[in-house]
Amino acid sequence: MSELHWMSASAAAVAIANRKLSPVELVKALLDRIEQLDPRLNVFIRLEAAEALKQARAAEAEAAQGRLRGALHGVPVGIKDIIDVSGMPTTCHSKVLQNAAPAGADAPCVASLREAGAIVLGKLSTHEFAIGGPSLDLPWPPARNPWNRDHHPGGSSSGSGSGLAAGFFPMALGTDTGGSVRNPASSCAIVGTKPTYGLVSRRGVFPLAFTLDHVGPMTRTVVDNALMLGVIAGHDPLDPGSARLPAPSDLMTTLEHGVRGLRIGFVRHFHEVDVPADPQVAAGLERVALALRAEGADVIDVSLPVLEDFAAVNRVILQSEAWSIHAGWLRTRPDDYGRLARRRLMSGAFMDAGDYVLAGRLRSRMIAEVEAVLREVDILLCASSMDPPCRIDDLDEIERTYMRQARTPFNVTGHPALAMAAGLSRDGLPLSVQFVGRYFDEAKLFRVARAWERAAGTDVLHPPG
């Protein structure tokens, strides 16, 4: 079978179940590709090749006996290195935890993937503690963008995004506190979902900000994203933020239902007024709106609070909560942090208690305002990144574009949001779009994203070479 590295997770799972594909053959093909390309992309912090092959052989033997563990039997996955995987240290890409002891247990999201039959390939690059940037002053180099390795792959789940776009694995886990699943999805032309707050357990994940953290699936196709979310979603009584709801069962069944009759609210002011986008990004969003209209959706303009207000609320909450986690290390080992993370994490020390409470009060109002709009429409369509990915060596440009995005509003409100490709720029770099749904209505989110994917063929968009 040719080009196994571009095979989707769902196609691989079906082929393995039908004994048309050996998990060993698949894992070997991916390991070859990783060996060939990763020295230039820096996706892996820790690659467990021998262990992955051992798991693949076990999966092959089970499949031969007709015993399938679940929907992802024999399918490889990469894990962002702020999430616990049993037997591997969780380093958070930081010198602070470089010598951490191996985790004693899988995080529940990893355990769910394993129960469904997935094979863990290893731990992936991230921005330091999921908040720094692409830094050169860390123990491991930053991941690079397979579309052009001189460009930033987005972050903080940068290894997850880069590895998917490079064909190293068909699924990865990321985390999203201010947009960290959706940013690499936008920069690498893959699919990244931040589910509703509380839908996926955060236990076993190194926290950045308790009330903003989400774990999300990252894949190359919408179908795979829905499949993966269906596996990792569900109530965890040991996660205080976990929603007391059964895991969604309709994610795959309504995927191909199309958008006819759906009302889609286009939040134009985000990219036209609040943070004016690169014209190529704006044109990409218009193409998405046109395509969905052509598929039968009713696309209307809607307004939300201005982006800068969302961003400020996100920043005050994030930095205050992150300071409460990192204060001890920042006091005693400030030199073990990279410069970007150190600056961002120390900001919380200068917020006062009143600011944190005020941000919470504003957050409640913002939730009410977004909910009011989502009573009128089924889905929101808006920008994700306002620019194509910038050069990774241009620190000023990275700093400038860091806040030029529309992802933080939905960390503040907790609504599910998905980012994916909206085409390519003149320079061949990914452009992006974001869809946002009602609480726990990820099924409709995937339905709309799938309609756009089908219309534009974004699932077969791969970097050259």
């Binding site: 509703t196 707050y197 509380g198 308790f210 009330t211 903003l212 933020g241 929603a243 709801l245 800068e308 207000d309 961003a311 400020a312 609320v313 920043r315 005050v316 930095q319 204060a327 920042l330 006091r331 005693t332 400030p334 030199d335 410069r339 150190r342 600056r343 961002r344 994490l345 120390m346 900001s347 919380g348 020390a349 200068f350 917020m351 006062d352 600011d355 409470v357 005020l358 941000a359 919470g360 009060r361 504003l362 957050r363 409640s364 109002r365 909910e371 989502l374 009573r375 907790g414 009602r438 609480y439 726990f440």
Partner: protein
């Protein structure tokens, strides 16, 4: 600067009023520029006052370096302060920027609006 601006604007407005009264007797009318001058002066005064208010907010929240140093020591960041003073100042500046923004937005909130619980998502 504000006193001069105020004087210019008062003079200009008086001149403009006089020219309006003098309409119909061209020999007594002041130059046309008087009304424009009044507008410019008033808008200068207004923008000066706004800028003053804005800089007042900045002065209040963007702490000077001695204040940053004091807070950094108070929260136990002496080591960071000694080794990475620029990072400490940058962190304080970033915090001040976000705080300024939410204080502006928050001024319109009702006293009764609450932040509790900090995050609760329920199915609609």
């Amino acid at each position: 600067v504000p006193r001069v601006l105020r004087l210019i604007s008062i003079f200009s407005v008086l001149a403009w009023g006089r020219s309006r009264l003098a309409q119909g007797s061209p020999d007594q009318r002041l130059p046309h520029g008087a009304s424009a001058c009044a507008c410019v002066a008033w808008s200068s005064l207004l923008s000066y006052q706004c800028a003053k208010r804005r800089s007042g907010v900045r002065a209040e929240s963007a702490m000077d370096e001695s204040m940053v140093e004091m807070i950094a020591r108070r929260v136990g960041l002496e080591r960071a302060l000694a080794a990475f003073p620029d990072d400490v100042v940058a962190a304080a500046g970033s915090a001040a920027k976000a705080s300024d923004r939410i204080r502006q937005s928050g001024s319109a909130l009702s006293e009764a609006s609450e932040p509790w619980p900090p995050m609760l998502v329920v199915r609609a």
